[in-house]
Amino acid sequence: MALFEIKNLTFRYPETKFDALNDINLVIEKGEFVVILGKSGCGKSTLIRHLKSTLVPYGKRNGQILYLGQELGEVSARVQAGEIGYVMQSPDNQIVTDKVWHELAFGLENMGYEKKRIRLRVAEMANYFGIQNWFSKNVEELSGGQKQLLNLASIMAMQPKVLILDEPTSQLDPIAAGEFLATIKKINTELGTTIVIVEHRLEEVFPMADKVLALENGKQLCVGTPREVGKKLAGHDLFHAMPSPVKIYNGTGQTGECPLTVRQGRTWLDTYFEPEKEERTKKEDRGRLFKKKQGPFAVEAKEVWFRYDKNLPDVVKDLSMQVRRGELYCMLGGNGTGKTTTLSLLAGLKRAYRGKIFLCEKDIRKIKDKEKFWHFLGMLPQNPQTLFVGNTLEEDLWEMKEGLPFVGKEEFLKRMRMVVEDTEIAHLLKMHPYDLSGGEGQRAALAKVLLLEPEILLLDEPTKGLDGFYKQKLAAIFDRLKSRGVTILMVSHDVEFCASYADTCALFFDGNIVAAEKTKEFFAGNSFYTTAASRMARHLFPEAVTVKDVIETCRKNRRQE
């Protein structure tokens, strides 16, 4: 008997004209790993919320959902609470209590288990997830990744038969996300728990899946094994979200069996392609050290040092960097290496205790606040939501006018129209900023910053939590800005994005920049810190960095049979 059986499910939110879900049919077997993908707002979350009665959204619904052969609505709340586990997006909001141990026990308390049994279950879970070291801590002391792991553990403590996850890693950095997804895989293989996951990080999750469901505008686009879906989606919008090996496979004409992981990709390439014959660019020219560049520079830092307190260690150490005018400069690097701090130093929000920073060749200490935030500098914080203060997006954009009393109303309106068009948010103006999805919120926040007409734009992880489609949109906006001479400096974890769109990439480590080079040279020279496409193809085509490069080189080097 199938664990879940969804039959002809159609759903419409009240007072909307379109079905959020339209005729969905899906069978989820026991122990399966199911991935649901689709663009933001295509109904993925709506669909999986239907798998647990307490979370089913309010609206008009047709069709049937069976849980172990029984109508889901008739399964008792107690059984559902214990057997169907649900992990949500935000690590923070899901946590109910203030202590880690209490959080782990929360569900079990609700189920009415006695103390001894809870103690055992909690101990088991703490061991399985490696939580024992922070067991007695306050939850606010935990990092985002730890919080999400705690959420997972506190659900697993109830020993569910199926685990439903709604974009669980969208607010985590790549390393924490990787660990989280590996844990999910471990749960699936070691405990046989069924997994239903909605996820953007397909690079990792796609190869794990037994079954993939692709949704588009509430309709079922296709269902099948990852290989089948990968083939079927070729040429579709959703294809941008696919892992690099699948993209390369499809881009080169679908020869042989579709590779899903980098390892499979390497063998696949070996079978069908030959190493590039052309002479490589001389390696010696590609100095790995920081090279002096020619001006004019939009941002320049000279031997900058910073720490938060006299008695604390340095966060930024001897940082020197130069960003040329009109380029897209990406700072990559691990967590807690001081990237975000560097951004606030460059924006003048914090002051270095040694060294100098120049913005457009002016010393930052001599730029007044008033000059700085008009026609000069704009910064987008990591969480775009923190920028909004209005009740609608439109109100929020008008709010910027208050900081710019010297700008006429007409002029401001003109400016606003242009920005709204640039960032493609015209259809969102009447919405509450908190109701926007990740990608929309990011663009709306960007619009707010762009109203300052900045020449230098500082961005803190603008691609965090965005799906492939929204990333492309963002890249298009960046292109438009660059063509107008705006300098963009962004901090990012997103190797794939930087490889495709940046002009210069820099590796940030231990408080300063270890290497800064043109994007292609940067990634071709690295062996770990590089794109999946490069990792897959580097032994044959060392110069190819992005999926596009690899596909093009592949075409030239096909093995002749």
């Binding site: 935000s90 109910v96 009415g112 909004f388």
Partner: protein
């Protein structure tokens, strides 16, 4: 805070102990008792907090002590032993000075014990204790304790983000700052409501609202706790009896009268001394034990 052994006892022990000590320090104005509770309170506070405690004592306790011991004779003119007259014609008496000093010591020692209470009785212990009485309250408290730091962290984030677009709340003229502050506050309310929806979902998803909810805790009332409790109860009853039958007493007005130096009174001083130095004694015994263990390892 230092590694405190007394804190490792069951919350019931910690809580009753502090209630007893604070109560006795507050209501027994006998000079010997006051002296004992002040020295022990200070000693324990210093043990817990080290240098920080000394700073608090100099900055807060000393002024409070001085204030209360000066104010009493200035405004209270009871007492038989006249020392001199103020310019206003009010008399200053020996008894009112003594009472002022005693009250000063009392206030300071109660403060010291309250500071110790704060270090020992962490929020989870408090929640555990009161959750036993009112289960719904304990979850509510736990949620409040989760929410408050989250809320203030978010306010920081929002005001930092506003700086990114040149809207610094911390500078500018007062009306403008107020306006910005209000805006942030209003969006914070939205934020809190918005996020609480997800928290509520997470609670429902984990079966909150099912019948027969139980309480889990990490505390266990073990044999060590039982012994401690018995000891504390014995001391408490003994002291209560002594006080009720006036084997120990003090009158400050109209003239200072103290109980006689009976054996029973001396015993009561000793018992109270032991009682007040209990947490420190527990720590010292533990330290000695560890020293001994270390030499064996």
């Amino acid at each position: 805070m230092r590694n405190d052994t007394f804190s490792t006892y069951h919350p019931v022990i910690n809580f009753t102990y502090f209630i007893l000590v604070a109560g006795l320090s507050m209501f027994v104005m006998h000079p010997v008792f006051l002296g004992i509770s002040m020295t022990s309170g200070f000693a324990y506070y210093v043990y817990l907090k080290g240098k920080k405690a000394l700073r608090t004592m100099i900055c807060f306790f000393v002024p409070i002590f001085l204030l209360s011991s000066i104010v009493n004779p200035l405004f209270n003119h009871k007492g038989m032993t006249l020392l001199f007259y103020l310019k206003s014609g009010n008399p200053i008496t020996l008894e009112s000075i003594l009472y002022g000093l005693a009250a000063g010591v009392m206030i300071v020692s109660v403060l010291a014990w309250c500071s110790c209470y704060q270090c020992v009785m962490t929020s989870d212990k408090f929640i555990y204790l009161f959750g036993k009485l009112i289960p719904a309250l304990s979850l509510l408290l736990a949620m409040v304790l989760r929410f408050v730091p989250k809320f203030s962290a978010q306010i920081h984030k929002v005001s930092d983000a506003q700086k990114c677009i040149g809207r610094d709340v911390s500078n500018g003229k007062l009306p403008a700052r107020l306006k910005k502050g209000m805006k942030i506050l209003s969006i914070m309310v939205t934020w809190a409501l918005e996020n609480s929806v997800e928290t509520a979902d997470s609670m429902k998803a984990r079966g909150y609202g099912l019948r027969g909810r139980t309480q889990f805790s990490v505390y266990r009332f073990d044999s060590r706790d039982k012994m401690m409790f018995a000891g504390m109860a014995a001391a408490g009853i003994f002291l209560a009896v002594i006080l009720i039958f006036k084997k120990i007493f003090v009158y400050y007005y109209p003239i200072l009268v103290l109980n006689e130096h009976t054996a029973l009174a001396h015993l009561a001083y000793c018992v109270y001394g032991l009682f007040c130095f209990l947490p420190l004694a527990v720590n010292i015994v533990e330290d000695i034990k560890w020293h001994y263990l270390k030499s064996k390892i």
